[in-house]
Symmetry: C2
Subunit: 259 residues, 2 copies
């Protein structure tokens, strides 16, 4: 069975996240479920699509990565074209290539990059931006920069992890947190300065760790916490000590890195 490595872009709006959900009463549209169904249809047999990680409902991806084994006879077809013909326009195959038989989209990932977009204006959010930003209003960005420095490095991120997955360790290395005044988003010409894109890179992220990190930085930017409260929050190892999770729809999985 040839193994394929797929790179997948999607707008999370309208889907129930990445992961297939088994519900007895109805079929829930998820990215994994929809792509898997199309690969199975073309393959003529059931397949299993392994993603590099789950994304929550409403989260977008520019380059999610997944692997799948397809029948020998289907190994050399143009999977990008075949899938893009049948997938909904909100999901696109950016690349489909043959991968080594032992390639594993999740286990072999060494780093991930996420972007989180904030809308800083007090004015209305332009309708074309709405699905891609958290409209959090004005923030003290200098304070957020100061706070971000406390999150970079190797820490136990238990305080920034939501429950629901089993992991052996809650220690991760946040490689960098950077920001740009505006992201690659709609209507930059008219309102670019009000979009602030935060980029998070880590060797791995716990469940909702980016959204919880963003929620923490925004709380600092609003003056509800001081930057130097952060070490104590991390040290507590208690989710209840950190502020609320930032909304899903501001988040985009930008890249999954392999060695």
């Amino acid at each position: 069975m040839p193994r394929l490595k797929l790179t997948i872009a999607y707008v999370g709006t309208g889907f129930h996240g990445w992961q297939t959900q088994a519900r007895k009463d109805k079929v829930v549209p998820t990215i994994q479920g929809i792509v898997e169904a199309q690969i199975a249809r073309i393959s003529g047999c059931p397949v299993h699509l392994h993603g590099a990680g789950r994304t929550d409902a409403g989260v977008h991806a520019e380059a999610q990565v997944a692997h799948v084994d397809v029948p020998e006879a289907k190994g050399d077809i143009d999977w990008q074209v075949a899938l893009n013909t049948s997938l909904p326009p909100g999901i696109r195959i950016v690349e489909a290539v043959r991968a080594p038989d032992d390639f594993h989209a999740q286990h072999h990932a060494i780093r991930k990059t996420y972007d989180y977009r904030l809308w800083l204006s007090r004015r209305y959010t332009p309708p074309w931006l709405h699905p891609f930003v958290w409209a959090c209003g004005p923030l003290d960005v200098a304070r957020m920069d100061e706070a971000a420095r406390f999150l970079v490095g190797t820490h136990d991120f238990a305080s920034l992890r939501n429950a629901g997955t089993d992991v052996l360790s809650t220690v991760r290395t946040m490689l960098s947190i950077t920001r740009r005044p505006s992201g690659p988003l709609p209507a930059e010409a008219t309102c670019g300065r009000a979009v602030l894109t935060w980029r998070f890179e880590a060797d791995g992220f716990l469940k909702q760790m980016v959204r919880n990190s963003m929620g923490l930085l925004v709380a600092v930017g609003r003056g509800k916490l001081a930057a130097d409260d952060i070490p104590a929050i991390l040290a507590a190892g208690d989710r209840r000590r950190a502020p609320a999770t930032a909304p899903a729809h501001g988040l985009t999985l930008k890249r999954v890195w392999y060695a």
Copy 2:
């Protein structure tokens, strides 16, 4: 009854165009219908919202203009805030101001500007761009520039008008047709060069005149027509002589001009 001038932005996806549609079997979500209902709710009485013009289902607006008369007691409330609180996020009030009692959004408009966005790549359309571009593939843009010159000026545009509205004359003045290599759209950083935005300005547009003009220019860009076929197509005064209408979702009403 104080008159308000509203400037309205919307993403056309998911709405059945601007104009309220009377159907006996069900309520059809239109921009006019939804905004009118919210103004009526706040006013406590029925109102009528007059738009500068209709936009088709799927067409977007950065600045549609409309006028409405509201009860005296409601003249001075902050209509922008009041409406944005209750409207769906796909529709936003950009501005709400008191207007002279005789201001008429449609009759007093002296010029309109529309943008039409093309996606020129043979590759897949990024999912966040899909609702905003016509993915027409590679085009000979120099030929389109040549063709556009034949549309600028005062002409009978009957060949580029779809049936369905009564107008006294099909003569209009196309003030300019210009293009920019990329528009204010999602993911410019990664794919900007593949977006080509055409801007059409006229003293008024007939029904689907921008979409038919774009369809004509794309036919020239694909080599199906020569630029100098255009004078004969216009002279024929016959819609059947011109190519098919370009898809609605590439079109955005950019601005309505008043004296």
